[in-house]
């Protein structure tokens, strides 16, 4: 269906965002000898094998011991190392929340918490692994920067950018092969939203995999004569509130789209921004206070209302509330 649409961004190949992380990490390792990698028995899943192979003396297999991994990483920062921890998003956050809170966030350590297999698009493994609460948990921590890039290229660029930024970062990415629709030479600016498509009737603020769904939704809306603006919010925290307010001042309403619970996610942060400044109708695309389940990624996105068709419906609803 999307093939026949005239989307403003197109793709010729798909790849997983986790590979963008893996390839970015190797490059970061070449640029800076202080970059070190730690992994909790998921080297293949996190695509950290290339880094391990090229820099064995800077790579640490931790085993299935995520709490210890967070502490080790915090300790390694003390003489200037830049540790990148790798495990699934579930085990990168909820499982080790207190370790991150005390040893990394409160202690303001330069640890990069790199989290794969986030959200419903993990697919068949089901709800135990499909974390939908991680953005909320991480954005609540003072000192923490929270980033959720949208495709292979953006994830690679983000990985390189966080290596150069000093401070704790949560970098969230995923498992499925996903369209590569952003340029390979993009400059990733932490905290700076990217206006991908200009529009006038409604703004779609999307993060992670759902940025592609937003691009598709824009084309579908355009066919119906509705002009949507699409803004890629790769950095959930610090949030680019200026970009949000400027866009909504123009369009008068918005939709937030994320692979996360309504509670605590990007939509919450946008709503808070609007309410404090200039309230406007907002519709939420996300998971409504439920766990996920097993299934194919695209089927799950459809069932839980997280695809382009649902963004279109939400956009029309938001416009109707103006």
């Amino acid at each position: 269906m999307e093939k026949t649409l005239d989307t403003k961004y197109t793709y010729t190949e798909k790849s997983d965002t986790r590979s963008g992380f893996g390839d970015g990490l190797v490059e970061a390792g070449r640029k800076n000898p202080n970059v070190v990698g730690l992994c909790a028995d998921l080297i293949g899943s996190l695509k950290m094998g290339a880094f391990q192979k090229e820099f064995p003396e800077r790579f640490f297999q931790v085993g299935i011991a995520e709490a210890n991994m967070m502490g080790l990483a915090a300790g390694m920062t003390i003489n200037g190392k830049i540790p990148f921890t790798g495990t699934f998003a579930n085990f990168s956050t909820g499982r080790v929340y207190d370790q991150i809170r005390q040893s990394i966030a409160y202690s303001d350590k330069n640890v990069k918490i790199c989290a794969s297999h986030a959200g419903l698009t993990l697919g068949e493994d089901g709800a135990t692994h499909q974390i939908l609460e991680d953005l909320g948990m991480m954005k609540m921590l003072p000192n923490m920067t929270v980033i959720n890039p949208c495709d292979y290229n953006q994830t690679k660029a983000a990985t390189l950018a966080i290596a150069e930024y000093h401070g704790p970062v949560y970098l969230r990415f995923g498992r499925p092969k996903w369209p590569i629709f952003t340029p390979s030479d993009q400059k990733f600016e932490i905290g700076k939203a990217w206006k991908m498509i200009e529009g006038t009737d409604v703004t779609i603020f999307a993060t992670g995999h759902l940025v592609w769904e937003a691009v598709v939704a824009e084309a579908m809306l355009r066919e119906e004569g509705i002009s949507a603006e699409v803004i890629n919010i790769h950095t959930i925290k610090p949030l680019d509130t200026q970009a949000i307010l400027e866009s909504v001042a123009k369009t008068g309403c918005c939709v937030s789209a994320e692979e996360h619970q309504y509670n605590g996610g990007l939509g919450d942060s946008i709503a808070q921004t609007l309410i404090r400044n200039s309230p406007a109708p907002q519709e939420f695309i996300g998971v409504d206070d439920s766990f996920g389940e097993s299934g194919k990624p695209e089927d799950l996105l459809e069932k839980y209302g997280l695809n382009a068709e649902n963004i279109v419906k939400a956009a029309k609803k938001a416009i109707g509330r103006k």
Binding site: R58, L72, G75, N79, Q99, Y106
Partner: protein, 283 residues
């Protein structure tokens, strides 16, 4: 820093105990019991063993580093840091008060010199120390990394994740000490959650374990730390099982968990201070 003799260390310990009691009394809050129990260890470490610089740098390159995992015994650490010159002694008056760098539990947020990581939520410090030790190894830094844990803290799962990791990765520039006072908040460890046999447990995980049987005897504590140091560099980390008495130095506080986290009254303070020589002058 010049190494103090055993006699000088003992005198320092008496003053540090006074500091602990006065800090906790002033704010009627804090943890005197294990602070008093670990006083010989802290004094021996900072005034005899540690290669450190009170002109504090977070990175501490070339220095030995110390990490406190059981952060609630902050009073003893603060006293020793201040008396080592990391910050002004007068700042001890601000312990646990608002707008202070001397927080209830050690923290980096306010920038108190000498502290490299926050602690208080138990079980995390050993992992941090191992990470710091590995980072030193990468850099060819010969500094030693020290960690202190509580014995009750051995009930945390993360401790054993770390215990398994360090020997596997041959982290042999690390000396971890356990304050083995056999007391925790709810009572004796043997009643709350039995730890025995701690020595066998750590040995089974691949550590070289030494026992400092008289953890409140200054010469024994120094000897234990020397012995631990001699075991470094052979592919295995070292665990120092430091037998102490909670509340040591004050007759009505010793050997009980009752003084884990309560402050002495005015009368109790006077009684306690009467038992401890003001060897270096109160702050």
């Amino acid at each position: 820093m010049e190494k103090l003799t055993t006699e000088q260390l003992q005198k320092t310990a008496s003053q540090v105990r006074r500091d602990i009691l006065r800090m906790v009394h002033e704010v009627q809050s804090g943890h005197p019991g294990a602070s008093l129990g670990c006083t010989e260890f802290f004094v021996a470490l900072y005034f005899n063993q540690l290669n450190h610089n009170s002109e504090f740098s977070m990175e501490g390159k070339g220095e030995d580093l110390f990490f406190l995992s059981n952060g609630h015994i902050s009073p003893v650490w603060y006293s020793v840091l201040a008396r080592s010159g990391y910050f002004d002694l007068e700042e001890l008056k601000t312990f646990r008060k608002i707008n202070s760098r001397v927080q209830g539990h050690p923290a980096t947020e306010e920038g108190l010199p000498g502290i490299r990581i926050a602690s208080g939520s138990l079980g995390q410090g050993l992992s941090v120390a191992i990470g710091a030790a590995q980072a030193k190894k990468i850099d060819g830094d010969k500094g030693i990394v020290y960690a202190l844990m509580g014995d009750g803290e051995q009930q945390e799962g993360q401790i054993w994740e770390a215990a398994m990791y360090a020997p596997h990765h041959k982290v042999d520039n690390l000396i971890a000490t356990i304050d083995f006072n056999r007391q925790q908040i709810d009572g004796p460890t043997a009643v709350v959650m039995d730890l025995d046999d701690l020595k066998a447990k750590w040995e089974a995980f691949g550590w070289q374990v030494i026992e400092t049987v008289k953890g409140n005897d200054m010469a024994s504590v120094v000897e234990g730390l020397e012995k631990a140091k001699a075991l470094l560099g052979n592919g295995k980390p070292v665990l120092n099982l430091l037998h102490t008495e909670m509340g040591f130095g004050v007759d009505f506080m010793v050997g009980t968990h009752k003084w884990h986290g309560i402050a002495p009254s005015d009368e109790q303070l006077e009684n306690a201070l009467g038992q401890l020589e003001e060897s270096l002058g109160d702050y």
